[in-house]
């Protein structure tokens, strides 16, 4: 087993990708409750505003952001001949992922802590 940055990014990419596929279909079903009328939708949305869902929201954000930056890294590798910078690229991508997740995730947590 190779614990190189390439392998680690590959495993994270898979896991986040599969999690997002499952989330996508759940998301579509939840939003689809609008077909039952606005009341059904608002009731379902209120259900999603509990603290446990806030935690899932941050996890979801992390998965999306990681998957996106990893994908951008792969596109860069595909379009430009930059394989010799593969490790630096991975770390740059990872730093971007952490920053964006914090910028997006902290407000969600703060908002939840304020008791909304």
């Amino acid at each position: 087993m190779y614990k190189t940055t390439g392998f680690i990014s590959f495993v994270f990419r898979r896991v986040s990708g599969l999690a997002l596929v499952i989330y996508l279909f759940m998301h579509m079903l939840v939003i689809g409750s609008v077909n039952g009328g606005p009341e059904a939708f608002n009731a379902r949305m209120a259900m999603m505003q509990t603290p446990i869902f806030r935690f899932f929201e941050v996890a979801l954000l992390a998965a999306v952001v990681y998957h996106a930056f990893d994908g951008i890294r792969l596109l860069i590798v595909h379009w430009f001949n930059v394989t010799q910078y593969r490790t630096s690229l991975f770390y740059a991508m990872f730093v971007m992922f952490v920053i964006v997740t914090l910028v997006g995730g902290v407000p969600i947590i703060l908002f939840a802590l304020e008791g909304h």
Binding site: G17, L18, P38, Q49
Partner: protein, 108 residues
């Protein structure tokens, strides 16, 4: 090759759509309800953008899941069945999602 190209094209589209989606729908992180979504979706341009977003995300998700599955040597011989299954699931989900997006027109 087709799966790969689709995956890369939708990946680029998703970077744009998803950024837009996150900013428009979820920030500021307030109480999300029907009226707020409706104000935005009253504009037909947003409906078109959301349907295109739905299409890319479905293609990307199903192509990705397909690629993950046929990585396994034992599953690879059944890739035709898997591909058709993914297409069928995608079509059903796309129709369902499009109906959902269009249904956001009801005024409260």
């Amino acid at each position: 090759m087709r799966v790969f190209v689709l995956q890369r094209v939708t990946a680029v589209a998703l970077v744009v759509f998803l950024t837009l989606h996150m900013i428009v729908v979820h920030y500021p992180p307030g109480h999300l309800d029907f009226s707020r979504v409706m104000v935005r979706l009253a504009n037909p341009v947003w409906k078109v953008i959301d349907i295109l977003f739905l299409l890319s995300v479905l293609v990307h998700a199903l192509a990705g899941a397909y690629a993950v599955l046929i990585d396994a040597e034992r599953i690879m011989p059944y890739k035709r069945i898997l591909a058709w299954g993914a297409i069928a699931l995608g079509v059903v989900a796309f129709i369902y999602g499009t109906i959902t997006i269009i249904n956001f027109k009801v005024l409260v």
